[in-house]
Amino acid sequence: MQARMPILEVEGLRHRFADGTPALSGIDLSVNAGEFVVIAGPNGCGKTTLLRHLNGLILSRTGRVRVDGVSVARNPARARRMVGMVFQDADAQIVGETVYDDVAFGPENLRLDRSEIHDRVTAALAAVGMTHLADQRPHLLSGGEKRRVAIAGILAMRSPILVLDEPFSNLDYPGVRDVLEQILSLHRNGHTLILTTHDLEKVLAHADRLVVMGDGRIRRDGPPETTVKGIDAFGVREPWASRQGLPLDSWLS
């Protein structure tokens, strides 16, 4: 019954950048296995910085981050295997010169043997419906396709936890629906999901939980329907339906 134990634990996390910018000032957050958490908040409130602590891309002295029980600071390598991350800028995360090579990058770093890598890559590409583009050069893909490749790259590493930083930015309507369907099928398969966005409209209807950040702190945390009420005050737009007192509706329906 693991679905109830916390797989991610953040306690009293603070972070100040080298130039003195205080990005996080005391974050406490605990995410259960299989949960789908949406994090919202104004520009510069610390979302990306928080996410980068989850797999040890940034380590801070004050505060603790644990990925199912093990401190990230103690074992960043493990944290990076457990926590797959899709970045805000789809282009910046392309590593390989073909889609296949790009997806294979992670498994190669895990030192798996070739056949295992091949199986994982083909499976991952199939999962995001990109098999036919395996030999394509990634930078020629559309925004939506690039995001799918990024997700495949994570799937190939078999990370149980997925972190997506603004996965919808610059995507058109079909692109958003594509990525959204991807995300939901991952959720159904038991992945733990953490997603940041400025447009709650696009995803909130499917989330288990909404976390609102502001000035490097967590302002609100709870079930979407209730937490989203009057969220405008925190620099996030409350979805139209919710404004009208209606239930949140999905972009997929």
Binding site: R14, H15, R16, F17, A18, G20, G56, L57, I58, L59, S60, R61, T62
Partner: protein, 189 residues
């Protein structure tokens, strides 16, 4: 050096290799040797990456070209290009970037030294480039110099002038990665 800093330098060196290739792509033919921005990025690589990683950048560039990637002036690579009329410049980039890096490492970003380094580098570059051009085409020295050096000197002066502010703006960006981040972070922020 931490693994992360190692990776930063690896990526930066690859980036400079790519910049050198991009600088070669826009080639204006003026005889057997074209006008390119290639050598500008070779010089900047030396100034910013230093001798060792500058050498790595040029080495990777030449390797990619030798294997046939179209990274040399006007596209089309291959060992044939390195043995071709402009091969002297290509191979010459190795000592050039090393020399510039060597001087820059010791001059702590003082502009006069940067300029000096680039002038020395350019001298070495033409020493290699022109003599090989002479060998391949069988021209005399004067002809080789006329075809392989004179037309480029104004452009190269321009490049050296431009390299100074580029190095000035990017040094903090790069060296920021290599002095221990203060405040709360004890890894790169």
């Amino acid at each position: 050096m931490t693994q992360s800093q190692q990776l930063h330098l690896t990526v930066y060196a690859s980036l400079f290799a790519a910049l050198i290739a991009a600088g070669a792509y826009l080639a204006i033919p003026v005889g057997p040797v074209p006008i390119v921005l290639q050598n500008l990025f070779v010089m900047v690589a030396g100034l910013l990456l230093g001798s060792r990683w500058g050498l790595a950048a040029v080495g990777v560039y030449l390797l990619a070209g030798a294997l046939g990637l179209p990274v040399f002036a006007g596209g089309a690579g291959g060992i044939g290009r390195i043995l071709g009329p402009t091969g002297g410049y290509l191979v010459g980039y190795l000592p050039v970037v090393f020399l510039i890096g060597f001087i820059a490492e010791r001059s702590k970003g003082r502009i006069p030294f940067d300029v000096l380094a680039m002038i020395c580098g350019t001298v070495v570059l033409y020493a290699c480039g022109v003599s090989w051009l002479k060998v391949v085409t069988g021209m005399g020295w004067s002809k080789a110099a006329a075809a392989g050096m004179v037309p480029f000197l104004p452009g190269d002066v321009l490049k050296i002038i431009a390299a100074v502010p580029i190095a000035k703006t990017l040094r903090p960006v790069i060296q920021g990665k290599f002095q221990d981040a203060g405040a709360d972070a004890y890894s790169r922020g």
